[in-house]
């Protein structure tokens, strides 16, 4: 996990530990094995909370589902036909993981519309329902008018739980009598899980989770399907707890509903937060610290304090039980970590937030590098320019689009056509509906009425990410990058919808996936060079100066390989120099890539210079359409929008 001597030393330590323990007579292997099971659970929860940013307060429910799946399949309580076979355990752990994953999807599906606090409350409810259901399914009788198809069926063992549970069998390995084989079994499962999670995190899927966590709307508009991405996080997180639960059931030989209460969910969440949400190393550290503290340190300290109490003759100390204080210590530890190191023990340190624009830019701060034709990545040229649309046809054709929010009509029967390879300016007073128009075209807002046709096919009703896949990309008026992801990862999320790696592909990395990922990174590098962000790949997006953030947003949009680019006030907050560079970039994209562009902009120098035609909105209605020259002379546009033109005059020295 860390560089240098770390991994081999860690491996040796993990392999030698049980024998050292035995030689010293410490008898901590049981506790440490349990700790590793909780670590596995915490790692699963980390996918949901740390990566996808979905606060889950009822995660222990999946632990229960895994444990009971193993219990019911591999126990004589229900008369399971699998019980007693040598191979049962090895099959059942996979079944338990699959059942947990399936329930993860079932439970995840209805919660996907909600976020934040609401999602947390729903998972809290689910976490309460499962133990209650388990308690009450120990004696099921169904009666239908005197007929009892099911009578006194013991589905879960009720309050007594399931006992016994079948153990794993391997020739010559004493799982019955010795904790050491369990330790190694759990170690293998844990190591495989960490390995798989590391690979998932550095894949297309891991980036999609983090993008959802950072900004779901922006992720959607960058081609990441939030529904399937979140469901996948739920399912994978649940499957890891399915493994953990099934091993736990077999190791303990008995499971009771009390082992899966709300407190367990909270403890798991503590492990994730303590270590640092999103960091595998941190979560392992947090989980091991908490379990070892709970299972070893507290009990050993209790013995110690009692011995001292007896020696000095203080009865209160001699009979103390520190394990009763565990929640006190957990609480105290969490408070301290949050105050002193809010990113967790191993979380990535985040720099204090700079002002929207102010960070040091030592090299030539006043002159952003101009875009050069040679720097246009060849693949982009190839992919973008090779659209299936016939020359001269409209790439975007919007007819009669209407949208009202409550009583306010934001768009009123608006028509707008973007010809292939054209640049259309969209201007109008503040609040005229320009951004709403973008939101309608990109699928964020569904129009009440009207048609939107892109490259010959209707877009109405498509999800934003599907519209990105069709070839429309956008930037946002107030920059919406994935702030806590690196510059390179921001661009790679843009490529998401053009990549294909599945879960299996991301974990196993066959040559095809390796090649795809290498190509994606190379493309990201070229795109960053093209927009003038070379050498900043590893910086967090939030730490970039304002102008760089605007350029990164454009690079991210280009990474989706669009044929139509929607730019929402791209030069806002830029000085004339920077605006000019950006204007050149826009012209270059059209000239060299035949990229069609729809541009919202208040800087008239930019709009008039690059636009072929301009559409003017006021109060949601199109009040003018024409060439820049026509628009500049249009009386209604002057009255509603342009004004007398004082701000457009060149500076008069001495004025």
């Amino acid at each position: 996990m860390s560089r240098g001597l770390g991994p081999p030393a860690l491996a040796v330590a993990l392999l030698a530990y049980p024998f050292v323990d035995r030689a010293l007579g410490l008898q901590t292997v049981h506790a440490v094995s349990d700790g590793m099971i909780y670590t596995l659970l915490a790692l699963g929860l980390n996918i949901v909370v740390g990566y996808a940013g979905l606060l889950d307060l009822g995660y222990a429910a999946f632990f229960a589902i895994g444990a009971y799946a193993m219990g019911l399949l591999n126990s004589p309580v229900l008369g399971s036909p699998l019980y007693g076979h040598a191979w049962s355990f090895w099959v059942c752990i996979w079944v338990a993981a699959a059942v947990s994953a399936l329930l993860g999807v079932v439970i995840g599906a209805p919660t996907l519309r909600v976020r934040g606090d609401y999602l947390a409350i729903i998972t809290l409810g689910f976490g309460e329902i499962i133990p209650v259901a388990i308690r009450n399914l120990g004696d099921v009788t169904i009666e239908l008018g005197g007929w009892r198809p099911i009578e006194r069926l013991n589905l879960t063992g009720g309050e007594n739980g399931v006992n016994p549970v079948g153990r794993p069998h391997l020739p010559g390995v004493p799982f019955e009598t010795d904790p050491v084989p369990w330790y190694f079994l759990i170690l293998v499962i844990g190591a495989a899980s960490v390995w798989a999670m590391n690979r998932l995190r550095d894949s297309r899927l891991g980036r999609a989770w983090m993008a959802i966590r950072e900004d779901e709307t922006a992720a959607d508009c960058t081609g990441v399907n939030p529904v399937s991405t979140k469901l996948l996080a739920f399912a994978l997180g649940a499957s890891f707890s399915g493994f953990a639960g099934s091993v736990y059931a077999a190791k303990l030989q008995a499971i009771t509903p009390g082992a899966f209460e709300f407190q367990v969910s909270i403890m798991l969440l503590c492990m994730v937060v303590l270590g640092g949400a999103g960091s595998i190393r941190g979560v392992v550290l947090g989980a091991m610290l908490i379990t070892v503290f709970d299972r070893v340190v507290l009990s050993q300290t209790t013995f110690l304090v009692r011995a001292i109490g007896r020696t000095v003759g203080v009865p209160a100390l001699a009979s103390i039980d520190l394990t009763l204080w565990r929640w006190f210590f957990f609480g105290l530890g969490l408070v301290l970590v949050m105050l002193l190191r809010p990113q967790g023990l191993a979380g990535r340190r985040v720099q204090p937030i700079a002002g929207a624009d102010d960070l040091d830019e030592p090299a030539a701060p006043e002159a952003p590098p101009p875009a050069r034709i040679e720097a246009i990545p060849a693949w982009l040229r190839e992919r973008v320019a090779s659209g299936p649309v016939g020359h001269g046809a409209a790439i975007l054709d919007v007819r009669g689009v209407t949208k009202a929010f409550g009583g306010v009509v934001a768009l009123n029967a608006v028509d707008l056509v973007v010809p292939r390879g054209g640049i259309i300016g969209l201007i109008g007073p503040n609040g005229a509906g320009k951004t709403t128009f973008f939101n309608v075209v990109t699928g964020l807002v569904r129009p009440d009425d009207g048609r939107i046709t892109f490259a010959g096919a209707s877009l109405v009703g498509l999800r934003p990410n599907a519209i990105v896949a069709r070839g429309i990309a956008r930037t946002f008026q107030s920059i919406r990058l994935f702030a806590h992801m690196t510059v390179r990862d921001n661009v790679l999320v843009g490529e998401h919808c053009r990549l294909a790696a599945s879960v299996a592909g991301a974990v196993l990395r066959p040559p095809r996936v390796r090649a795809e990922e290498a190509r994606a990174r190379e493309r990201a590098r070229e795109l960053l060079a093209f927009v003038g962000l070379s050498g900043k790949d590893e910086e967090l997006a939030r730490n970039l100066p304002y102008g760089d953030q605007r350029r990164l947003e454009i690079a991210r949009a280009l990474a989706t390989e669009p044929r139509l680019l929607l730019l929402d006030e791209p030069t806002a907050g830029m000085n004339p120099r920077e605006s000019e560079t950006l204007t050149d970039l826009i012209g270059l994209l059209r000239r060299e890539l035949s990229l069609s562009i729809l541009l919202i902009e208040h800087d008239m120098e930019v709009v008039m210079r690059v636009s072929d035609r301009i559409t003017v909105l006021d109060y949601g209605t199109r009040i003018a359409e024409g060439t820049p020259g026509e628009i500049q002379r249009h009386p209604r546009v002057i009255e509603a929008y342009l004004g007398t033109g004082v701000s457009q005059e060149p500076a008069v020295p001495g004025a």
């Binding site: 720099q351 204090p352 700079a354 002002g355 929207a356 624009d357 102010d358 960070l359 040091d360 830019e361 030592p362 701060p365 006043e366 929010f405 201007i427 109008g428 007073p429 503040n430 609040g431 005229a432 320009k434 951004t435 008026q477 107030s478 100066p545 304002y546 102008g547 760089d548 006030e569 806002a572 907050g573 830029m574 000085n575 004339p576 120099r577 920077e578 605006s579 000019e580 208040h602 008239m604 120098e605 509603a640 929008y641 342009l642 004004g643 007398t644 033109g645 004082v646 701000s647 457009q648 060149p650 500076a651 020295p653 001495g654 004025a655």
Partner: protein, 235 residues
């Protein structure tokens, strides 16, 4: 009225301000112009105590303020319209405006001031009951400026007030800036639109990589080669 002397401000290890000095006299409009990343917003954040200078001092009306909490500084009579439109998205436009007057003692003066900002921005009057977050970007910008005006500050800090506004509103905004200045409010104006800013300002400072590199009367700055080439986009 406001004095910054040899101010050094850091974000972690990054030096954002490197010995910046400037002053604003009562009744003036002073503009601070510079590129992205030059330190303009950091200067405003330092004045308000949102970041602490590692070295140097900030004085307001002759007293040091660089150790005071932000809310204390605001109560001394400095208000800011922040860049990036930090309005309260789930409160109505009216509530946003009323909060601007939160620290004021002269209850009687609030109603006329509300009337004044609403006549400056008729668009806000149309939207008084709407939630701040449902306004368009430009409307949020108007709201942020209006909210700062509601504090009736002695010194008003404006961070890119023209950003995201239509050309006609840009003119209006600069006219409003001159109006409120004539009514007695001192203004420190940070702008990308250097041409308009220098037209309304009395004096100007040019900031590059955290230092003042040029300082003069606004009319002189409009004539200077550096400003014309770098900030006015002239060839």
């Amino acid at each position: 009225m406001l004095q910054l002397a040899d101010v050094h401000t850091y974000y972690g290890n990054i030096r954002a301000l490197r010995g910046l000095s400037l002053s604003v006299e009562r009744g003036e409009i002073v503009t601070l112009i510079g590129g992205n990343g030059a330190g303009k917003t950091t200067t405003l954040r330092t004045i308000l105590g949102l970041v602490r200078p590692r070295r140097g001092s900030v004085s307001f009306n002759g007293a040091r303020v660089d150790t005071l909490a932000t809310d204390r500084i605001v109560r001394l009579g400095i208000a800011q319209s922040p860049e990036g439109r930090h309005i309260f998205p789930r409160m109505s436009v009216l509530e946003n405006l009323e909060l601007g007057a939160f620290a004021r003692r002269d209850r009687d003066g609030i109603a006329p001031d509300l009337e004044r900002v609403l006549s400056l921005f008729p668009r806000l009057r149309e939207r008084l009951a709407q939630k701040g977050g449902t306004l368009s970007g430009g409307e949020q910008q108007m709201l942020a400026i209006s909210r700062a005006l509601m504090a009736r500050p002695g010194l008003l800090l404006l961070d890119e007030p023209s950003m995201g506004l239509s050309p006609i509103l840009v003119e209006t905004i600069f006219r409003i800036i001159q109006d409120i200045n004539r009514q007695g409010t001192t203004i420190l104006l940070v702008e990308q639109n250097a041409r308009m800013a220098l037209r309304v300002a009395h004096r100007g400072y040019v900031i590059q990589t955290g230092r003042i590199v040029l300082h003069d009367a606004a009319a002189e700055l409009l004539r200077s080669d550096l400003v014309r080439k770098t900030y006015l986009g002239e060839k």
